[in-house]
């Protein structure tokens, strides 16, 4: 196992053993067999010189740069970010030094040089309103750019909930007409890495998988890698036993909250959210939302913004009595109307009554 990456890492003070340990842990996180860890380490370590590294184009659309922040500011930048040493990141507005025409040239050069082979990463949603005028780069709408760049891509990674499902811009009433990558591109393999932002390890893991095996990992029906999104937050949550015992924090500062009881009643969306936060955790395994005392927002699920309020328990509907008053009035009106008709009918029958005589018993 040798190559430019190891040398680069060594220069940054990362030893070979540290790298191997990282790969083993990454494989474990992705539910790959232990042998895959070594394979990944070897594949990445053997990454060729800069000119031959796989080309990656990163297109930012309607986004907040949170996804980029997530990976570049992860706890151990050298390790999580080492993936960038394996790839040739030919276009990434936030990170690249070039700007303006230079940047555009770099993009088109990379597209031309690696046609059909480059990996396209997208973060942010694509606005369709006003012919896409809500978000333009170099005079082109995001829609145009996406279609153009996607054409030559080997695969597309939709990074973050916006690219994967439309995210915050897509939230009701969706003023920009934002849609996801998969709403537009239908003929390329797309992997969604939702989350607001996604867990850095997940990003690294997916890229490592692609680089090592040349394929995308197994996906669920929402296009997410099963290894990370296979189970709900609730099922892997360390507070789950409290849910089963019916012990719930009622407010953020009551004794239940101090005792670390279940946050279901405070609006935790853990039961309907598929993500790896509970096991992988954040900030290098320091903590994750529930451990910090806040319920899960459900950010890796489609349309989580519109799922009825972050602090409303899942069992609590938004406003079920909204129509109650109207319904009661209409019901009462209908009832009264029917009553009148019925009483009219009854008294008509009564007034039409002919006193029966014996003869009237016969037909």
């Amino acid at each position: 196992m040798q190559g430019p990456l190891i040398e680069t890492l060594a220069r940054q003070g990362v030893t070979r053993r540290t790298f191997m340990k990282f790969c083993a842990t990454l494989a474990s996180a992705m539910a790959l067999p232990p042998s895959a860890g070594r394979a990944m380490a070897e594949a990445m370590a053997a990454a060729p010189a800069a000119s031959k590294r796989p080309s990656v184009i990163w297109l930012p659309f309607q986004e907040c740069t949170g996804c980029t922040e997530s990976i570049t500011r992860s706890h151990s930048p050298t390790l999580e970010g080492l993936i960038f040493d394996v790839i040739s990141l030919d276009y990434q507005e936030t990170l690249m030094a070039a700007a303006g025409h230079q940047a555009e040239e770099a993009l088109h050069a990379a597209m031309a040089a690696n046609d059909g082979k480059y990996l396209l990463i997208v973060d942010g949603s694509i606005p369709l309103g006003l012919d896409g005028a809500y978000s333009c780069i170099a005079g082109k709408s995001n829609l145009e750019t996406l279609k153009e760049v996607a054409k030559g891509a080997a695969a597309i990674v939709a990074m973050g909930s916006c690219a994967a499902y439309g995210g915050l811009p897509h939230a009701n009433p969706n003023p920009t007409g934002a849609v996801s990558v998969s709403d537009i591109i239908k003929d390329k393999p797309i992997i969604n890495i939702p989350g607001c932002p996604p867990i850095p390890t997940v990003i690294t893991g997916v890229l490592a998988h692609f680089l090592t095996f040349g394929s995308l990992p197994e996906l669920d029906k929402h296009g997410r890698p099963k290894a990370f999104y296979g189970e709900t937050i609730h099922d892997r949550c360390y507070r789950r036993p409290f849910y089963d015992q019916g012990k719930f924090a009622k407010t953020f500062d009551d004794q239940g909250a101090r005792n670390g009881w279940c946050l279901f009643e405070l609006g935790c969306k853990g039961p309907v959210t598929y993500n790896a936060c509970a096991t992988v955790k954040w900030n290098g395994g320091t903590s994750w939302p529930v451990e910090s005392g806040h319920g899960c927002l459900g950010c890796s699920e489609p349309d989580f913004w519109d799922a009825g309020g972050f602090y409303k328990a899942l069992s609590m509907p938004a406003d079920p009595l909204k129509l109650a008053a109207k319904a009661a009035v209409v019901g009462a009106a209908a009832g009264v109307a029917v009553s009148f008709v019925n009483r009219g009918k009854k008294s008509a029958a009564k007034s039409a009554h002919e006193t029966t005589t014996l003869a009237d018993l016969e037909k």
């Binding site: 089963d244 328990a313 319904a327 009832g335």
Partner: protein, 219 residues
């Protein structure tokens, strides 16, 4: 529509409509039924302790002497599934939370393991009652589409709720959405099917008790 959208709809608009139709239906039906009125009884009454509409409302919850033996499945199965439903509906923590959000009223719930047991027992009792309806000549003879239909719409919320909690068949989110949806179906059909007995049985018992109480018969 993905499952979160479905869940959002059933918890939002769907439930709004279902509750609306339910309330509308209940009020309308109550008017429709009770506005027909009845004639005043002109015969001299004979009052006896324990004979009145109110007495009958409570007394009819107990089986008359000897009847349990005659139709054990109806009584035991019936009690089991009605009580089971009450436990599952009113003592499961997420349900209490819903009621609290609607009414402000709250009470302690039961551990989920107990609710789980109650749900299973309820479903078992309902299946037994259904089998009885199929097997017993009288019940089969009386049964109409409405009987099978109302059994189904009552059974589904219990089944889907239980499956959601147990993570069976479908992802929790989808199951939860289906659970709420099935409750909505139940709410919508309740006022217009025999399930409306949940409301009218009080009126019926009261009338029966009153008419008989007038004669000094404790029914």
């Amino acid at each position: 529509m993905n499952e979160i959208q479905l869940l959002t709809w059933v918890r939002g608009d769907g439930l709004d409509y279902a509750v609306g139709i339910f309330l509308l239906g209940v009020i309308w039906r109550l008017f429709e039924i009770y506005s027909l009125g009845r004639k005043k009884d002109l015969s001299a009454s004979r009052s006896v302790a324990g004979a009145s509409g109110w007495h009958t409302i409570f007394r009819r919850s107990l089986p008359p002497a000897g009847m349990v033996k005659k139709s054990p499945v109806s009584y035991i199965g019936g009690y089991t599934f009605h009580i089971g439903l009450a436990i599952v509906v009113f003592l499961f923590a997420p349900h209490i939370l819903l009621i609290q959000s609607l009414t402000g009223l709250s009470w302690p719930g039961l551990p989920s393991q107990f609710i789980d047991l109650a749900a299973v027992v309820t479903m078992a009792a309902m299946v037994v009652v259904l089998a009885d309806r199929i097997n017993k000549p009288v019940k089969r003879y009386l049964s109409t589409f409405g009987d099978w239909f109302t059994w189904t719409v009552t059974f589904l919320p219990v089944l889907t709720g239980w499956m959601a909690v147990q993570h069976l068949l479908l992802p929790y989110t989808t199951m939860l959405a289906l659970h709420i949806l099935s409750v909505e179906v139940l709410l919508v059909v309740l006022p217009f099917t025999k399930l409306f007995h949940a409301f009218t049985l009080f009126g019926s018992r009261w009338y029966n008790g009153t008419v008989n109480g007038h004669k000094g018969v404790a029914v």
